[in-house]
């Protein structure tokens, strides 16, 4: 499905809609395979920092992956604990942005 949306800069660009549940699973899988340290179970509502699964470098990797996957830029001021402490928070934050294609 293709649609047009208005980003924060007001530009119009075509986007493919991404199901947020599938995106959440994809992100969990990426973190599990490429970022996670230790063997703590990882779900969308797992606290990534307090479990020790993700450190500062890992957060950078997660942000880069999201930016690439959704073709967006995340402002450094938006990379805060409320938005990135767990995958569920990231999905909520991304769905609230007007320039992402998460449904």
């Amino acid at each position: 499905m293709t649609e047009e949306t208005t980003g924060p800069t007001g530009s119009l660009r075509p986007m493919s809609s991404v199901d947020h549940r599938a995106f959440s699973e994809e992100l969990v899988a990426f973190i599990r395979a490429e970022v996670a340290i230790g063997d703590h179970p990882l779900e969308a509502d797992t606290d990534l920092v307090l479990t020790g699964l993700v450190d500062s470098l890992g957060i950078v990797l997660v942000v880069e992956w999201i930016e690439s996957r959704l073709d967006i830029t995340i402002d450094p001021g938006d990379i805060v604990i409320e938005h990135f402490d767990m995958v569920a928070s990231m999905v909520t934050y991304l769905r609230a942005r007007s320039d992402t294609s998460l449904d």
């Binding site: 920092v49 307090l50 001021g77």
Partner: protein, 530 residues
Amino acid sequence: MTEIETLDDLLDTAVTIAGADTDAITDGRSRLSWGEYRDLAGRIATALLRSGVKPGDRVGVHLHKSVHSFASVHGVLRAGAVMVPLDALAPVAATNAVLRDAGASALVTAASGDVLVAITAGTSVTGVVTPLADSVSGPGSSTVGADRLVELEPAPRPGVDPDDLAYLMYTSGSTGTPKGMAHTHRSGLTYARLAAETYAIDSSDRLANIAPLHFDQSTFELYAAPLVGASVLVVPDGVLRFPASLAKLIADERITVWYSVPYVIDQMVARGAIEDHDFESLRWILYGGEPFPPAALARAMRAIPSARVSNIYGPAEVNQCTVYNLDTPPTDDAPIPIGRAWSGAALRLVDETGGPVAPGEPGELLVSSDTMMRGYWNRPDLDARSIAEEDGRRWYRTGDLIAERSDGNLVFVGRVDNQVKVRGHRVEVEAVEAALLDIDGIDAAAVLVDRPASGDDHLVAVVSPEAATVDGRDADLIRQLAATLPRYAVPSRVVGLDDLPRTGTGKVDRRAVGRAVGVGDDRGDHGADR
């Protein structure tokens, strides 16, 4: 006012100086006055005493950073016990190893269920206090929780001596066996007094606690702050991973004194959107643990012009021994000196025979001061190697190669052994290599530090044969290491090579391995300064 002599008295001192109702400590969620902080610590002490803790017993503090973790430290001291800070993010096996080595009889923790059982398995722990959860009753598994703490009266002073032990600060040894630095009330309190005097800290100051309890930088906020009635912001573990969250909290809390490793400051300046906040209150940025790359330090000082900067050097064994202050940003790439001897510290630079080095030549730094530990906990072998008695003084051999410049300032040159620093944490590369060699299928291993220009320092493991790794990172290998090593000692990358370069004596040649895989020091600062 009578001058205090032991750390258990600090919160009473703060109440006297600042007033019981004055804000004392916050973690961004909870906020306590000095009276509330003192009483919470006192009730934790009572719970420990009722569980059978005796003066001199070791008690672990195993909590994520919060007002409760700080109160627990002071609670252990108020019970007359020896505080053992534990890394709340460490693997269960590592925590268990420290509790065993310390012979701990009690634990203040947030752990429960299977994790608590695993952490305490085979240890002497019989008392468990959980200030953030309710009590649990059951044979062999009873805990004193928040619900019972509120009913207890705060414990009175324990009557300890200044030369009694106050805390054990653990670090991983070269064999992977943890070693505990045993500090007395006198060494801790002397350090707190000097720190407060050096930076003219008083009850109007607000200190940011960045370091975790098991990292020696935290002794600054734990002890120097209450000594003068300065309040403390305990920055939660989670916030530290998010530079923008950290910047907002520091600005909102109007912090006046900051102390951390350079990496945390650099990341906040680079990624924290600090232009959105007001840092005018910040008057001191203290850093230590490793060198600050001059360009990054200059960027930080230009971004926060209100703050003077102080480079603090000193292994945890001596708390601190030199200092170098900067009022203006560095203008070239020359490494920042570690400065001159701190008040009360005697320093010597010696060659391999123990004799003095020629002027300007590097030598191993020996330190003698009242802030020095008594020794390593139950390790006379390490004491014999690390502590020399000469001229009627005890000298700690730092293992750091230091040179004196013509202007009298000292500069860090390197190490006499293979210890490296990663974001301020000591890592003995042999211990990480030994853990790699314990994994089936790995025949040889070298552990290197990659210090890219971005400042994201990390460990890289190079293993042989190449078939032991998968696609350059190998999450499975990293996971196996994370089960036994502290997080800061777990490599971020794994590279496979069929043959590791060797020296003439057959040992793995780490420098040649680094060249072979393109891993090294892009900043030229070695990273081993502390």
